[in-house]
Amino acid sequence: MSSVLVRAMLVWLALSVQAAVAGVAIESWESSRGARVLFVESRALPMLDVSIEFPAGSARDSAAASGIANLALRAMRMGSAASGGVPALSEDEISLGLADVGAQLTPSFDVDRAGYALRTLSGERERVRAIDLLAAIVQRPAFLPEVVAREKARVIAALREAQIKPDTAASRAYARLVYGDHPYGLRASGEIDALERIEPAQLLDFHHRHYGVAAAVVSIIGDISREQAREIAERLTSGLPAGVELPPISSVPSLQQAVQRAIRHDAAQAHVLLGAPGMRRADPDYFALWVGNYILGGGGFNSRLTVQVREKRGLTYSVYSAFAPYQREGAFTIGLQTRRDQADEALRVVRETLSDFVRDGPTESELAGAKQHIIGGFALRIDSNRKILDYLATIGFYRLPLDYLDQFPQRVAALTLEEVRDAFRRRVDPSRMATVVVGGIAP
């Protein structure tokens, strides 16, 4: 730090990060049947990104039908039923229809949300064809017995493969400890024995209940007018099921004490996870915790954890800390992998680093650096249609304000050192955490 060049650069940077970023103009309305629509017109490229999402994530599973949410989303694109004058579509017709216009369809799935993102050229022929196929997928999935049986077998094969791996063993044990019986702790793609029992009729029922129009969120960005966006939103939502009022997801209880689990494994590396229930998407401490976490372990090569565990000691390739903000309190997690005989040492360094951070908070310099990074680099968060689409979907689903992207840098700029320290002290308790270590069998 003593070098003149470095000091000169840091001073200069401190003066120059007030870069203004033009806001993203989001239009929003309700479709005629009550779905939420968010739209950004973007004329630079002849393309269109559209996503449609529902409250149909893995937290909507039950232990008895674990894996149903994931299986429904996965099999939805593999055949649609006839309806009125509209013919049925086979899985090949859907796949080839999308490929014929060069469109790309990507599923999205987490504990809260399930849906699809479609990317297509914006020309009328390609756009209309691709949107028609997406509408058929989300509105009239066929769940043919043969397709369901095959996809169950493929999901189960992937689960069996994953079960051998140390990272899977770690994350499963960790989820049990952190979430207990809360549905956020259910394995996202299900348990093998429950999956084997799922029938097509259950998938149809799941679709009718969870893919209801009133809870749908349609996000659109691209080379179309608002009127065209309105038509697309109508096309995607007009034939959706009515759905049912879904029960709210309960709060995730805090851990009452420290819990740990060790699983022996013969992999070359031990996998270490440490954490506890964290924060919600609409949490009043959201920005304080998020910025604090950037300093602790979210900020790439400059975070405290990376400096202590990787840069100073060479104990790992990757160490991180992260919040998972959902409708309810997703976990705050620290993770790393290290040669199996080094797990204890790495864990000790992580615990010390975390305790110090929670006790003392960040330094003035660290907080200033974090603000410079986040505010000065804010333009990078919204420099592509893909990134903006993700923000639209999040804003829509969690009912964040439409000027969220304008507020974001302002909220970060306004944070004080005391707010960050106070939030961590209240919300992250190193003495009540779940710890999982998988590894440690000599070859």
């Binding site: 469109a103 689990r261 090569f301």
Partner: protein
């Protein structure tokens, strides 16, 4: 597979590689060579007030020698470990405080460093990159720590990943002479025996302006970028290019088979053949035909391989085809499958080869060709949504010795491929004597738990 300084970048780089043929529309790319031999390529992109800056060194794992495999990637890690002016760890900190993100990655053909940040910060990153191009310290102590990090990276991404181990085993069998036979991350014993002197020798051999290309994409005038590049990189002394040995793979005379046993549940199969890569973007129709063939076999969920192996015959849970046309070294055409049953490796291999045979005997259908064309045109547009993607594309083409602005030509040439040409390459290159097969045979793994379960 590229090796990266941080895990998140691996999938990004891999994803970008899939779109090697997507062209750039809009502003033309501008090119300039500084007096010291450093090449500068600029693509203006005005959609956001940001810029991507990349420095590419034409030195990857294919330039390594026996006994020091992995040194290209180790040096990439060491590039963050300090110069006289910028102490260890400060590089990324300075970029972060400027609102930027930075990383680097090493591949078979190159090592590349990049920063993404607000356009007002470009001269800062030029200054930092120019500094570490000539002033790297390469201290013993920093090396001793960082080589351990690299070994952890190998354990994480290769040693505990049966799919990666299989690919490594496959490449070592498919190539006997060409250095594509060694993994980018390096063999573990080579990493254990590596010294700071190895890294230093690598740095001195390859890190110089005549072996580097600066690629900038973003919201800036090309002339302003050239001026700024000349200001920071221009003072670095030029030197004569280091002579390179041409290494060619001798012809394969007979089928090769290798087996890997590792902890897994289902067998995986890789089947590959030696094929040409793109050297002349106007003339090399066989490369374009091979690209179309790979797309017809594996380019969508209902392409020939997933449809036949996964949906109809149910012998595999996944199947695909891969052909990289843009490489400095020789090409491979690779089919892959994960079998649906523990005893299904042979059935998977048979079905992969049968699908290729059908193409050779019966040709392809017009709608398959039309679909491939549509996908190529669409992905050329989609690619432009990411500035980093555009910079990657320019750098990859340039590094492979192809015109960096030739993507439009390539997409046009793809449109011109005929069904006869696809059938012709399917007949020509896929004989049994030039085939390499690698099979992952599953082994059980040991795992048992202690401690609180509930």
């Amino acid at each position: 597979m590229p090796e990266c300084r941080s895990a998140a970048r691996a999938s990004l780089a891999a994803a970008l590689m899939l779109f090697c043929f997507a062209p750039l529309a809009g502003d033309r790319m501008a090119s300039r060579t500084l007096e010291n031999g450093m090449q500068v390529l600029v693509q203006e992109d005005r959609r956001a007030p940001v810029v991507v800056s990349m420095v590419w060194y034409r030195a990857g794992s294919m330039d390594e020698q026996t006994g020091t495999t992995g040194v290209a990637h180790v040096l990439e890690h060491m590039m963050f470990k300090g110069t006289r002016e910028v102490p260890p760890g400060e590089f990324s900190k300075i970029v972060a405080r400027a609102g930027g993100r930075d990383n680097a990655f090493t591949n078979r053909d190159y090592t590349a460093y990049f920063q993404q940040l607000h356009k007002s910060q470009l001269s800062l990153v030029f200054r930092l990159e120019a500094d570490r191009m000539r002033n790297l310290l390469l201290g013993e102590e920093e090396f001793a720590k960082e080589i351990r990090v690299v070994m952890e990276e190998r354990r994480l991404r290769t040693d505990d990943q049966p799919g990666s181990l299989l690919y490594e085993t496959f490449m070592a069998a498919a190539f006997k002479a060409h250095p594509y036979r060694t993994p980018v991350i390096g063999w573990m014993p080579d990493l254990q025996n590596m010294t700071v002197a190895d890294a230093k020798a690598w740095y001195e051999r390859w890190y110089a302006p005549e072996n580097a290309t600066l690629v900038v994409v973003g919201d800036l005038d090309a002339q302003a970028v050239f001026d700024e590049a000349a200001r920071w990189f221009g003072p670095i002394p030029g030197r004569a290019a280091v002579p390179r040995k041409v290494v060619e793979e001798p012809p394969q005379r007979g089928e090769r088979r290798v087996t890997l046993r590792a902890a897994a549940d289902l067998p995986q199969v890789l089947v590959g053949w030696h094929v040409p890569v793109l050297r002349d973007v106007e003339q090399d129709w066989e490369s374009y035909a091979l690209w179309v063939l790979s797309s017809i076999l594996g380019g969508n969920d209902a392409a020939r391989l997933p449809r036949a192996l996964v949906r109809e015959q149910r012998v595999a849970v996944s199947a695909g085809a891969n052909y990289d046309a843009v490489n400095r070294g020789p090409g491979l055409f690779v089919l892959s499958a994960t079998a649906a049953r523990r005893d299904g490796a042979a059935a998977g291999e048979g079905a992969l080869r049968a699908a290729l045979q059908r193409g050779a005997q019966h040709g392809i259908r017009p709608e398959e060709l039309a679909r491939t064309r549509a996908q190529a045109i669409a992905s050329q547009v989609f690619q432009q949504d990411s500035m980093l993607g555009r910079a990657m594309q320019i750098g990859t083409l340039n590094n492979a010795g192809l015109p960096p602005d030739s993507v439009e030509i390539q997409v046009r040439k793809l449109q011109e491929v005929t069904a006869e040409q696809v059938q012709a390459v399917a007949r020509k290159f896929f004989g049994v004597d030039t085939m390499t097969v690698a099979v992952l045979e599953p082994l059980p793994s040991l795992s048992q738990g202690t401690g609180a379960d509930e």
